[in-house]
């Protein structure tokens, strides 16, 4: 049986014989489907275990500090989100007010999540080569760019709040 998918070593548009994926040759076919159990489960568990160990080590050696108790009577505190939500906070600047705020905090994030869920159906190209997956590469690049730029905008905005910059 002949498979017209490309081989690994750039045999451009050369038909290759389809062979069964086994434990011995699985790494020759890294971009082709493989069984979820046990191979994928073992990989996921290994990486999860390594990350868990790293978190435990960091929590022991570099513990998060306890900050001052909340001051409920202050009037100068400027509420701001954690840094990893800065990009979403920036969206609220673009879409202010009751009418438009739903676009920023419901519609756009919801569309993004739906798009993430739909990726397996939108991008079916099995190859790992970026040049063969222009759709997903361009969209992903744009998404990352938007997130990073919004984060930078929010950081500069927050830094220039009164009290954000060092006193003169």
């Amino acid at each position: 049986m002949v498979d017209v998918r490309r081989g690994q070593q750039g045999a451009e548009s050369q038909p290759v014989e389809e062979d069964e994926i086994t434990e011995e040759n699985v790494f020759d076919h890294y971009d082709e489907p493989q069984g979820f159990f046990p191979g994928q489960v073992v990989c996921d568990l290994t990486v999860s275990a390594i990350l868990l160990v790293m978190v435990i080590v960091l929590a022991y050696w570099v513990p998060a500090p306890l900050t001052e108790p909340a001051e409920v009577s202050t009037t100068v505190y400027v509420p701001r989100p954690e840094w990893f939500f800065f990009f979403l906070d920036q969206w609220l600047v673009f879409f202010p007010g009751a009418v438009l705020i739903a676009i920023a905090d419901v519609i756009v994030p919801a569309l993004f999540v739906i798009w993430l869920l739909a990726i397996p159906w939108l991008d079916k190209e099995p190859s790992h080569s970026m040049s063969r997956r222009p759709y997903i590469v361009v969209i992903s690049f744009l998404v990352i760019t938007v997130i990073v730029l919004n984060m930078i905008l929010a950081m500069v905005r927050i830094a220039n709040f009164p009290g954000g910059t060092p006193p003169g």
Binding site: F94, S131, L153, V156, R157, N160, T165, P166, G168
Partner: protein, 453 residues
């Protein structure tokens, strides 16, 4: 006569700077944009093996060379005029931004070397295309970094940081620095893209040869993708830029949005309406010549064109009939300059909230939708060389309008510093250094009050 006391006859001192800067910016922005577009085109040509990408990239590099010396000489003359006419300002800027100016100068050198080498080595490096494309991107990056450096100064003059002038980090990261960078970065691509489209249309209408007709038809399409694609982001970035001006130089914001110069934004939205409508109309026309006809996509684009016009017109409705007081175009009461965002102005549909927001957001999303449909159709190819002359007029309209938009926006940014220091005066550095007398104010000069020596 001491330097700084020079009086320029006929046009006056204030007009000298814009007369030099406007053509400089128009050339410099074009060079930055076209350089990166050309390098990208060369890369796409290398990957797809389609000759027209390389042909365009090479011609674009040639225009960069032709314009570079003119643009640089205008910049040099501008600096000379600035030192002569505004010595206190330049001395102050030089103290704060010495490293910026030095790096800027080296970026010029780097750009000159790489751009000339890039163009001259086109044939010699035909078999080392990877390296040659990299050279093009390096040349483009030199230009880009140059813009990023000079934006520090431009942003600081309008919204100086609330930090000592000696604190280099914070003077760099002043409130409008990042929004200005993004706004100009995107704007350069859009500007260059529309100019490419306009040039292609001009040549298409004049050249009878079949092969060249196909090439210039394709070039119009390539230019509009860049021009229109990047224009879609501009309303958001421009909004962000104005938000920062509002937060940190509120007098300037009020002067622009609700004061005597608010007509500039009415003019801007008219320019946006022309560019958006012409771009979508062009896309709609081109879809007739798709290799694989897609009537449903074309009908959807027709709907998008209607929505573009509606959203665009919504943006152009002014808040009052006090239109352009400088030339007596006044038909009604001026809107209260302290009006809240959610209050109703004399013309309700001209309210900023929600109508202008709906107009701008709608324009961007409908434009994105139309562009996506157009790109999907273009994926299967077009029959090139068949576009009618009206579609080319649409391209010419975008090119002419984008030049006026650049000039409008440049004027907006500089005239914003006219606010908050009396009717006849203004600021060279907002809230810090006066325009006419070049005096530092005793207080409010961000966080380090000082007097003029």
């Amino acid at each position: 006569m001491p330097i700084g006391d020079v009086e320029v006859p006929v046009i006056g001192n204030n007009l000298v700077i814009p007369l030099l800067v406007v053509p400089h910016i128009l050339i410099a922005a074009y060079i930055i944009g076209i350089n990166l577009i050309a390098a990208t085109s060369e890369l796409v040509g290398m990957i797809t093996k389609q000759r027209h990408y390389d042909r365009f990239a090479r011609n674009a590099a040639k225009t960069t060379l032709l314009l570079f010396a003119v643009g640089s000489s205008l910049a040099f003359t501008f600096i000379l005029a600035l030192i002569t006419l505004y010595p206190v300002l330049f001395s102050h800027l030089q103290n704060i931004f010495f490293w910026v100016f030095l790096a800027e100068a080296f970026m010029f050198v780097g750009e000159v070397i790489t751009v000339y080498a890039w163009y001259n080595a086109w044939d010699k490096m035909a078999y080392r295309k990877n390296l040659h494309v990299t050279m093009g991107f390096v040349a483009g990056l030199f230009g880009l970094v140059q813009m990023i450096f000079i934006n520090v100064v431009a942003a600081y003059m309008l919204t100086p940081s609330n930090a000592p002038a000696t604190d280099v980090g914070w003077t760099f990261l002043n409130p409008t620095y990042m929004p200005l960078n993004m706004h100009r970065f995107v704007g350069n691509f859009s500007y260059a893209g529309f100019l490419i489209a306009g040039y292609a249309a001009y040549r298409y209408l004049r050249i009878p040869g079949e092969e060249d007709r196909e090439y210039y038809d394709w070039l119009g399409h390539w230019g509009i993708i860049w021009g229109f694609g990047f224009l879609l982001i501009q309303p958001f970035l421009g909004y962000e830029y104005m938000t920062e001006i509002k937060a940190h130089s509120p007098g300037a914001f009020e002067y622009l949005m609700l004061g005597p110069k608010s007509w500039l934004f009415n003019l801007l939205v008219i320019e946006l309406l022309i560019m958006f409508t012409a771009s979508v109309a062009y896309c709609l026309h081109k879809m007739k010549f798709a290799v694989k006809p897609a009537p449903r996509l074309r009908n959807a684009t027709l709907g998008a064109l209607g929505l573009t016009a509606i959203f665009g017109v919504l943006n152009t409705i002014p808040a009052d009939l006090y239109l352009v007081p400088q030339i007596g175009l006044v038909f009604g009461e001026k809107v209260d300059s302290n009006i809240g965002l959610f209050e109703t102005p004399p013309i309700p549909l001209g309210a900023m909230y929600p109508f202008k927001y709906i107009g701008l957001v709608g324009l961007a999303f409908v434009g994105l939708f139309a562009l996506a449909l157009y790109l999907k159709t273009s994926a299967d190819g077009f029959h090139w060389g068949r576009a009618n002359r009206w579609s080319q007029y649409a391209l010419l309209a975008t090119a002419v309008t984008v030049v006026f938009t650049m000039m409008t926006m440049g004027y907006v940014r500089e005239t914003a510093r006219r606010a908050g220091n009396g009717a006849e005066d203004g600021w060279l550095i907002y809230g810090c250094l006066t325009l006419q007398e070049q005096k530092f104010v005793g207080e409010g000069c961000p966080s380090a009050p000082r007097e003029t020596p």
